[in-house]
């Protein structure tokens, strides 16, 4: 069983009738994901049909759980409603949450995280591309065609940079067990450490690729975890080596403030605990092959 999502995932899509929500619901069905329900308040009773799949739309998550036994949700609602959507899912007993929405206020996320811990759930995102276990399930917006089943786990703060590196891995014949885009916001549901802990316990994962970027100290905390708790080899790439301090590089969390959050500091922290850090994205497959030997 892969981590987070697998063949027994019964996926709910919140915000299913919106432009992004509906488009990606179809994409997820095409990938083979078992999408069992959608929720859009006020649109209950509609049905989204695609490739023979029929996805009923409900007004509440509670109904989607009772009627369709959803056990995981992917959220596409607009940012002002993000906090409400996550809390509604947790309240209805859905403990697996993937939040794609970009722009949720940070204080909302602090509240969400508090109740996520109490509900003993997991959350990927917000502001993330989602999670995929190639060949089994895709919950999010990642382009399915570049992935290939295998034994390399991948965790990243970035979306398209993940695709870039996954593409390199796949072309080098290195398939993936699960790929997780944890998101670029300051407060996220799952940190590197949360995901690394799952990879360490996952029999389908032999090595892990960690893709970091400037800002915060999640990579440094990950380095300590790798040193103390991980037996599986880790390869890394860090984006933003040349980013100037004080400038927010797109992601809300990607900013070097003073001397903290620099790429150099992160690379040194990872290197010091034996992580092989690539200089360029296209060096990652070579390093993975080396640590797998």
């Amino acid at each position: 069983m892969s981590i987070y999502v697998n063949n027994s995932t019964r996926l709910l899509v919140q915000g299913v009738t919106g432009r992004e929500g509906e488009f990606h619901t179809r994409q997820m069905i095409e990938y083979g994901t078992n999408v069992v329900a959608g929720v859009t308040p006020g649109k209950g009773g509609q049905v989204i049909e695609h490739l023979g799949a029929r996805v009923p739309v409900f007004n509440t998550v509670k109904e989607a759980v009772t009627e369709a036994q959803a056990n995981c949700t992917v959220i596409f609602v607009p940012p002002p409603f993000g906090c409400d959507a996550v809390l509604e899912a947790l309240d209805a007993g859905v403990t697996g949450i993937v939040c794609i929405t970009e722009g949720i206020p940070t204080q909302d996320m602090l509240r969400v995280h508090r109740f996520l811990m109490e509900a003993q759930g997991w959350m990927i995102g917000p502001n993330c591309p989602g999670v995929i276990s190639p060949g089994k399930c895709k919950a999010g917006i990642l382009p399915g065609n570049i992935f290939m089943p295998g034994n390399v786990g991948l965790v990243s703060r970035s979306g398209t940079l993940t695709y870039e590196i996954v593409n390199e891995l796949t072309q080098a014949g290195l398939g993936q067990s699960t790929c997780v885009g944890i998101g670029g916001d300051p407060i996220i549901g799952s940190s590197f450490v949360d995901v690394l802990r799952r990879f360490e316990g996952d029999p389908e994962t032999a090595a892990v690729v960690l893709i970091g970027e400037i800002g915060g100290n999640d990579e440094e905390v990950a380095a300590e975890f790798i040193r103390d708790k991980m037996t599986k080899p880790v390869v890394s790439f860090i984006a933003g080596k040349t980013a100037p301090p004080g400038k927010r590089m797109g992601h809300a969390g990607a900013i070097v403030s003073g001397s903290s959050g620099t790429a150099q500091g992160k690379i040194e922290a990872l290197d010091a605990v034996g992580v092989a850090v690539a200089n360029l994205p296209n060096e990652v497959p070579t390093l993975v092959k080396r640590v797998l030997q």
Binding site: Q107, S158, A239
Partner: protein, 384 residues
């Protein structure tokens, strides 16, 4: 989003946080009038969105209205780290006995708001945190509980505040926390918090940063954004809804996704080039947005070449290609453009660009090498 000290103080005043009497001035004459009205020693402070203004000479004491006028005329128009001072705050100078630090911000690793108090105030708190972290008392707040009295007692006592200050500091902290939460701040800082010789606490400086993601519900505060302080091209880009950061090189960089664009900057720099900007067109960009993004990058006259790096997921390569062709048809572009298009509908996108003067590249690496070479040759051709 950053707001000025005087704006932060106006917010704090609404929460009954004691602040010095004073007002804002845009001319030396206004500064003199405010000082005259206060009738005592004043401090004239540059209002500019950058730290270190004191060291730069942006804060001056004045004993008389004439001195206040002279101080304001020195400070107004001053350049502090690239920003021009357009306003000064003129307020009564506090009679300082002790200086403390109070701050509330978000602790990313702990996923909690963290409150910090130190008896060492008036100095760079990052410096204190780096050299003597034990001098900063910290409490993480549970969002389900917020700030209670006991939190404030722990903070005041662990920070070693003067016993006379402990009770008023408690009220101060709770007011600061209410303001912080109500305005969706990502930082609220009073540094220094002054204990006066008369035994009162007063916030002589204040800094509040607002969470950009919350501006949709902080509409009054959103109006405080000051575009004239930003780089003009950055301001234009933000109006168009683009994520653009100006840098000081000569290669314009565009791509989809912050991590990918950051990496493109790194790879270009590694190849010996100097990026002129960071521009993320975001996910699912349509031709119109791509066109406007390219136009924005070319507003910077330093740009001698452009690199597009697209990895299509939800972004479709044919849409990007159309946007680039629209822009090149509408504008007279005389710098080389290298484009790497991979992912969703890449064949359609690449076909659209065939036969044009746009230079294709198969990988990010190759694209970076090509643009760096083209830009350095262009330089040599102009200056043989």
């Amino acid at each position: 989003m950053k707001i000025h000290e005087y704006q932060a103080k106006q917010i704090l005043a609404k929460y009954q946080v004691p602040i010095p009497q004073g007002d804002i001035a845009a001319t030396p004459e206004e500064a003199a009038a405010i000082a005259g009205k206060l009738g005592k020693r004043v401090v004239v402070k540059a209002q500019v969105h950058v730290g270190g203004r004191g060291k730069a000479g942006g804060v001056k004491l004045a004993d008389t209205p004439d001195e206040a006028q002279a101080a304001a005329s020195q400070i107004l128009g001053m350049d502090i780290k690239g920003l021009t001072v357009e306003k000064v705050l003129v307020e009564e100078a506090a009679d300082i006995a002790e200086e403390y630090y109070l701050g509330i911000t978000i602790d990313r690793a702990a996923r909690r708001n963290v409150v910090m108090v130190s008896a060492v105030g008036g100095v760079d708190i990052e410096e204190v945190a780096a050299t003597t972290p034990e001098k900063i008392a910290k409490v993480h707040l549970d969002p389900a509980i917020g700030m209670m009295d006991f939190h404030t007692r722990i903070l005041a006592i662990e920070a070693g505040l003067n016993p006379a200050a402990i009770r008023p500091a408690s009220g101060f902290l709770k007011a600061l926390y209410r303001a912080y939460m109500d305005v969706d701040a990502s930082l609220a800082e009073i540094n220094p918090l002054v204990l006066t010789a008369g035994g009162n606490l007063i916030a002589t400086d204040a800094k509040i940063n607002i969470d950009d993601n919350a501006l949709f519900r902080q509409t009054k505060l959103a109006e405080l954004r000051e575009e004239q302080e930003e780089d003009p091209i950055e301001a234009e880009a933000h109006r168009k809804g683009l994520i653009y950061v100006r840098l000081d090189g000569n290669i314009g960089i565009l791509g989809n996704g912050a991590g990918l664009v950051m990496t493109t900057l790194d790879v270009v720099q590694r190849e010996g080039g100097r990026p002129a900007n960071f521009l993320d067109v975001g996910g699912g960009a349509k031709a119109e947005l791509v066109r406007s993004a390219l136009e924005t990058v070319l507003l910077d006259t330093n740009v001698k070449g452009v690199l597009f790096n697209i990895f299509g997921g939800i972004t479709r390569c044919d849409e990007v290609a159309k946007g680039i062709l629209d822009a090149t048809a509408a504008m007279d572009i005389n710098v080389p453009i290298v484009i790497r298009l991979t992912g969703t509908r890449e064949r359609e996108g690449q076909q659209l660009l065939q036969g044009t003067h746009l230079i294709p590249a198969a990988s990010m690496q190759e694209a970076a090498q090509k643009i760096v070479e083209l830009v350095s040759h262009a330089g040599k051709a102009t200056f043989p």
